[in-house]
Amino acid sequence: MIKAVFNVDASRQSVYSILTDYAAYSKWIPGCERSAILSASGNVTDTQMVVNSMKRMELQLRFEAEPVQSLKFRMTKGKELKGYAGTYRLMTAADQKGTVIIAELEIDAGFMAPKFMVDRVATKALQDTGQALQKYLSSGAAAKVAAAPAKQADRESKPRRNKRLLQVVKTSSGYRIWLLGETLAVKARGK
């Protein structure tokens, strides 16, 4: 399982809307040549995609969405791969402006390619998807998607405690210096 985190400058609702606009995947996902919805029921959508990455592949993916929280997908049909599954989890960024996406992707190529090579491809695919999403959002596509104000995350804003950095104490034998949690002794000459 390959994981990656990307931070995009858009509300969670905007990001969710783009990720669940499956028919528009070919507009922004690198290598996605065609994307079409086969059927949809509630938050479950079956799609058909043509992806041209290392190899041209036709696969059917089932998406299960948890509104504005996460999106799971897995391959339901495909000749070239044994398995293709992943998740996008959305969190409101700490600055309350953007969205943080935790992406997971697992590709099982069977005997077609060794795992380390497949993982490398999956890592690159996730990175490229993150960059493409940011680019697509900045291109104005996000503006066309109905954007709801970001949900306020519960922030812990506690006052910071006083922190002692330095203390110099003169003692009978010299100086005792306490610096950032460590104590150093400086003896007076002749003592």
Binding site: V5, M91, I102, P159, R164, Q167, R176, L180, G181
Partner: protein
């Protein structure tokens, strides 16, 4: 493979928990960490980004699970980091101290054996660093019971304060003071 260590540290669990979950300031004390940033927070789940000292492409994200005043778990998300899980557990003792245990589980990789001895993976070193950091927030931690206090510098909510022989002064960054 796991490596662990434990230590008794003066201070209350709330202070220790606060330090361990203050990702913006983790770089101040955590060995090998240059800086940190809070990416997102939802309840007890936090997403933070840390930067390692002296390495190229050294930023990595981690999922952090908090159990208030008891436990903090860090799980690096990207596989490039040798630690799979870092688990801090805090148990208060009757003497007003805490027994802190730190367990580091690492991912197995021949290529990463060299980094096993690094600060990030060394629980003993991390606990000593934590103890030093905790002592900075404890008024009684500095050994000032005997002798004359000559100089003291403290970081407060309002900025840096300096005491010279008992008289308090405000420290202002150069350029922000009226004199320029």
């Amino acid at each position: 493979m796991s490596k662990q260590s434990a230590s008794v540290i003066p201070g209350d669990p709330a202070l220790l928990y606060e330090i361990l979950t203050d990702y913006e300031h983790l770089g101040e004390w955590m060995p090998r960490i240059a800086g940190g940033k809070l990416l997102a927070r939802e309840g007890d789940l936090v997403l933070a980004e840390l930067e390692l000292k002296g390495r190229e492409s050294s930023r990595f994200s981690m999922e952090c699970i908090h159990s208030k005043d008891k436990m903090v778990v860090w799980r690096p998300i990207e596989n490039k980091i040798s630690a799979a899980e870092v688990r801090w557990e805090i148990v208060s003792t009757p003497e007003g101290r805490c027994r802190v245990s730190l367990a580091v589980d690492r991912r197995f990789s021949l290529a990463r054996l060299a980094s096993f001895r690094s600060g990030l993976m060394n629980p003993g070193e991390c606990l000593r660093a934590l103890a030093r950091q905790v002592s900075m927030f404890l008024p009684d931690a500095a050994p000032d019971t005997e002798g004359e206090r000559i100089l003291e510098i403290t970081e407060t909510q309002q900025g840096l304060a300096c005491w010279i022989r008992g008289k308090k002064y405000k420290l202002v960054p150069a350029g922000e003071d009226q004199g320029g």
